[in-house]
């Protein structure tokens, strides 16, 4: 009886909250996400447990986990101390190569890293990237949050620069810096003689380096927000009770800031795990031996079918990031909180530093910034280079790369494709994102509405390559097949993958407009639908615009689906695929033309991200948090 009454009350509540318009909002969001995220990812999981005859089977999982290529690590029992050993690790951290030149013998230390097999490699790369990004990001955040020195605000903003490009573009730029006759060796070995030998960073270490330099700002932003949100009186109290220095830091400051640091770190872990762009740039080295690249490399069988091996790998990637996401959920709530409490942060007391320490701090920050801006400087120089041998700067500059790219029929078609797909996807994202954000913000009392919130936030933690695999599994051979046209799946993929930016921006706008503004419109006779369009929308327009801009630009720079779809259908490929294509199948021009494309993308990204943040000004903090 009680249950029946509860149910009828629930139904009444639903009828009360949901009018036809809200239903249509809910349905389009659910339908789109079901069709282009849930079903595809479900298929990735289901298909990896298919046998060739169609029934349930662990064949592929078993094959992969026993294949030394993917998982070579074995524990072996020994009969003497330490009785157990880990086998299967190949290669060494570095190799020393000596060769003769005209000026005598030269030594190169090749930093290649161990190869532990595809699955462990992915985890090791993600772990190190997370570790380095966290140490670097937190240290910077701590310095900026706690100390006062001239130019600190400007330096803080400059250190966010890496957020302005994707790893794919950054990797192209950085590669030129870290190879044997790259800029760093020219600078530190040839010119400054600071190094006793040349160093070439390649393979997995190169991936870790690129990712660290591009992802540390995520930890930095999260930690910074957390640190300046720490109530200064808590620290003062601790000081009054006798805590000081490192003890104060360890017992008070760090624990209070930990949720923020953790949130950033977990996000970095997932972004590293799902990054396909960097391994692609370092194709031909051990960098290939990570999950994303292997999925990408194998997704198509020569027969034009989706490889089960790739599907199973995608499933493994999905499961790993799914597990991490359980932790990242904290990130989401934290972010919401941060958006809500705009301007509610404390005016932190910043300590002044002695001149000597200030000097050290400057050295550290400038050192970090030197490396952090290398990828961007690299891309820029490459884009304008005519010739660039083993010298610090290109020997001559030119605009030819841009002219070549823009006049190349295929390249300009790819640029057009990207613009069109991203624009259409942005339209969808705005419609779906505004709908979802509105429902989540305004119908909090409806049971289950948090699930909707989760659904539109979760794409942050879903590896793009897994989405791509799922989309292929679902739609190959249907009218939406990428072999017929690349557009539908790319637009769909951009929409589900990049919608969190719109949702978050709109949601923060809605949370900042009092619900009574909606309600008063109802009382004077406006239906909820009418209120939505004439009252709510005008008030959150800026947030919609800013969110749309971010979603647009992150669609433009999307790599995973873009490259996979592009490979299946060159005619409909996006810009990121063209960069990949030029890097490895291009004729003349080498990296100059892809760098020119990368530079264009980076510039657009810069304009859009800065634009979106200017639009919102103080209305939302840390919108570029990803």
């Amino acid at each position: 009886m009680g249950q029946a009454a509860g149910l009828s009350k629930l139904l009444r509540k639903i009828r009360w909250e949901m009018d036809a318009f809200s239903w249509s909002q809910l349905i389009i969001v659910l339908a789109s996400f079901t069709a282009f995220l849930i079903v595809p990812l479900g298929l990735v999981i289901v298909r990896s447990f298919y046998s060739s005859s169609g029934g349930f089977s662990l064949y592929w999982l078993q094959t992969i986990l026993t294949d030394p290529f993917y998982f070579p690590l074995r524990l072996k029992l020994l009969n003497q101390f330490p009785f157990i050993s880990l086998e299967g690790i190949r290669g060494s951290l570095y190799e020393v190569v000596k060769y003769q030149t005209a000026s005598g013998e030269e030594t190169i230390v090749l930093l290649t890293g161990w190869d532990m097999g595809v699955i462990p490699n992915s985890l090791v790369v993600a772990t190190f990237t997370t570790l380095f990004s966290t140490v670097l990001g937190f240290t910077l955040a701590f310095i900026f949050a706690k100390y006062k020195f001239p130019g600190s605000e400007a330096l803080r903003i400059v250190s966010l620069i890496p957020l302005l490009s994707t790893p794919f573009v950054g990797a192209i730029g950085l590669k030129k810096m870290i190879v044997a006759d790259g800029v760093l060796n020219v600078l530190f070995y040839d010119m400054l003689h600071l190094l006793p030998f040349k160093i070439e960073i390649t393979g997995l270490p190169a991936v870790i380096l690129v990712q660290t330099l591009l992802f540390y700002p995520i930890v930095m932003l999260n930690s910074y927000t957390a640190l300046i949100s720490v109530d200064p009186t808590l620290e003062e109290q601790a000081i009054n009770m006798g805590a000081s220095g490192f003890r104060l830091f360890r017992t008070v400051t760090l624990p209070l800031a930990t949720p923020g640091i953790e949130a950033g770190a977990l996000l970095v872990f997932i972004l590293s795990l799902e990054d396909l762009g960097t391994p692609i740039v370092f194709k031909g080295t051990t960098a290939e031996k990570v999950l994303t690249f292997q999925i990408f490399n194998r997704i198509f069988t020569p027969a034009g079918l989706i490889s089960q091996e790739a599907t199973t790998l995608a499933m493994i990637l999905l499961v790993i990031s799914g597990l991490v996401f359980v932790g990242v959920r904290r990130y989401v709530s934290l972010k919401k909180y941060a958006m809500l409490s705009k301007g509610g942060t404390w005016r932190p007391k910043r300590k002044k530093l002695s001149p000597a320490v200030t000097l050290l701090v400057y050295l550290f920050i400038l050192g970090v910034l030197f490396f952090a801006t290398l990828p961007h400087i690299g891309v820029t120089l490459l884009a304008f280079a005519k010739q660039w041998g083993p010298t610090l700067l290109p020997s001559s500059f030119t605009l030819d790369n841009f002219i070549a790219v823009l006049s190349d029929r295929e390249a300009s078609r790819c640029i057009m494709n990207s613009l069109v797909y991203s624009s259409i996807a942005t339209l969808f994202m705005v419609v779906l994102g505004v709908s979802a954000a509105y429902l989540v913000s305004r119908k909090k009392s409806l049971p289950g509405i948090e699930a909707l919130d989760l659904l539109v936030t979760i794409p942050i933690a879903v590896p793009g390559i897994a989405v791509a695999t799922g989309l292929f599994l679902t739609y190959l051979g249907t009218p939406l097949s990428p072999t017929i046209s690349g557009a539908p799946l790319l637009i769909a993929s951009y929409t589900v993958r990049k919608i969190p930016f719109t949702v978050r921006s709109v949601f923060s706008g809605l949370e900042q407009t009092d619900k009574t503004l909606d309600e008063v419109a109802w009382t004077v006779g406006a239906s909820k639908t009418r209120t939505f369009f004439s009252i709510v929308m005008p008030m959150i327009l800026l947030n919609v615009l800013a969110g749309g801009m971010l979603s647009f630009i992150y669609s433009m720079s999307e790599v995973s689906t873009g490259i996979v779809v592009g490979d299946a259908n060159h005619r409909d490929a996006p810009m990121t695929w063209k960069m990949y294509d030029m890097l490895f199948h291009g004729l003349a021009g080498g990296t100059f033309q892809p760098a020119a494309l990368g530079f264009l993308l980076m510039t657009l990204q810069f304009i859009f991200i800065v634009g979106a943040n200017l639009l919102l000004r103080k209305r939302a903090t840390a919108l570029i948090g990803v």
Binding site: W16, E17, D514, L517, E519, W522, T523, V524, A526, S534
Partner: protein, 353 residues
């Protein structure tokens, strides 16, 4: 203009019963006030009437029409929110005209009616201001105009004056009452300020923890509180606990000090029998300084005097009990002085505990 009736109206938020089986009836054109401490459920009640919250139990009727499940925008209520809730992206004219545009009123008529209502609330010529260019009082008037212009069936006010300064508050009170009376619209007014409630209302419902404690005219509520909560919440008084020793038209109540006083039940509905616990309440102005009857007399020592201009409030005690006594402003009196005061039995109220 409608009458409003609620039957067992209930609204629950999680564990909190914000409105608890409220049944009451508000008459045509009445100015009805819900009065109670903060958090007692006044806003929730009002929002349920407006259709902004779903009633969990009970029914709401406008005249004979059951509107319990009717969406807010069809109810024809004009609501003035505590924070005014003016739309920041519209100027004064558009804020007020919005409800008329929804109703597809012709442009000319909209202009005329907005002008009229602006005159009514004394904001002529302010059409083009944006909300943030207005003072709190002006914003309040715009919110009122926006609610009035649609000729609502009922006006709902949620502490509309609480954000204004004291002087303006008193002016606006009279103003609101004048408008409501002129327009003849049924109004429900919510406040936690008992003085405001007393001065503005036809009838008051005193609310506590989601329940109605008493409904009555300001005078009734003041003179005949039904229970201790109402007695203590409204006005001031001297409170002395005791036990009924004899019942009837006039009660006899033995105070804790052993003294027996003559009293009457605080409210016609209150029944007290010998042996019941009771609380004696005497309003400050009920005391006189003319003893000599031999009963209901208290000997007290004054320990604080507040001079209020038209009267003086004395705080006094007799070691066991505390007294608040109003005396003539011309009376010469000083702290430490002993007084003998008398409380007539008909003003000595016995409240059932």
């Amino acid at each position: 203009m409608v009458s409003i009736r609620t039957v067992n109206l209930t609204k629950v938020f999680g564990d909190v019963v914000a409105v608890d089986h409220v049944s009451l009836e508000i008459r045509h054109g009445e100015f009805f006030t819900l009065l109670g401490p903060s958090g007692c459920g006044k806003t929730t009640f009002l929002r349920t009437i407006a259709g902004l919250e779903m009633a969990d139990e009970g029914r709401i009727y406008f005249d004979d029409q059951d509107i319990t499940d009717m969406p807010a925008h069809l109810r024809g209520t004009g609501m003035v929110f505590q924070n005014y809730a003016l739309w920041p992206h519209m100027n004064v004219f558009d804020n007020i005209a919005y409800g008329l545009k929804i109703r597809k009123v012709p442009k000319e008529e909209i202009r005329r009616r907005v002008k009229e209502v602006l005159k009514l609330v004394k904001l002529e010529g302010m059409e083009n201001r944006t909300p943030h260019q207005l003072s709190g009082g002006q914003q309040q008037r715009v919110a009122l105009a926006r609610a009035l212009v649609i000729n609502p069936r009922v006006l709902l006010f949620d502490e509309p004056l609480s954000n204004l300064d004291a002087k303006l508050r008193i002016e606006m009170r009279a103003e609101l009452r004048r408008l409501q009376r002129e327009l003849g619209i049924t109004a429900i007014y919510v406040t936690h300020d008992q003085e405001e409630a007393m001065s503005i209302s036809d009838r008051i419902a005193v609310m506590n923890k989601g329940r109605i404690m008493q409904i009555g005219t300001p005078k009734e509520i003041y003179k005949n509180p039904r229970n201790e909560f109402v007695a203590r919440f409204i006005g001031q008084g001297t409170f002395i606990p005791g036990e009924v020793v004899s019942s009837g038209e006039e009660l006899e109540v033995r105070l804790e000090s052993g003294k027996v006083v003559k009293a009457v039940p605080s409210h016609p509905d209150v029944r007290l029998e010998a042996g019941d616990k009771a609380l004696i309440m005497i309003r400050p102005e009920s005391f006189t300084l003319e003893p000599g009857r031999g009963y209901n007399e208290f000997e007290v020592e004054v320990y604080h005097i507040s001079f209020l201009g038209d009267s003086q409030m004395l705080q006094a005690s007799n070691e066991v009990e505390n007294f608040i006594i109003e005396v003539d402003p011309d009376l010469e009196i000083s702290v430490g002085q002993k007084l003998k005061v008398y409380a007539p039995p008909k003003h000595t109220l016995a409240i059932k505990l």
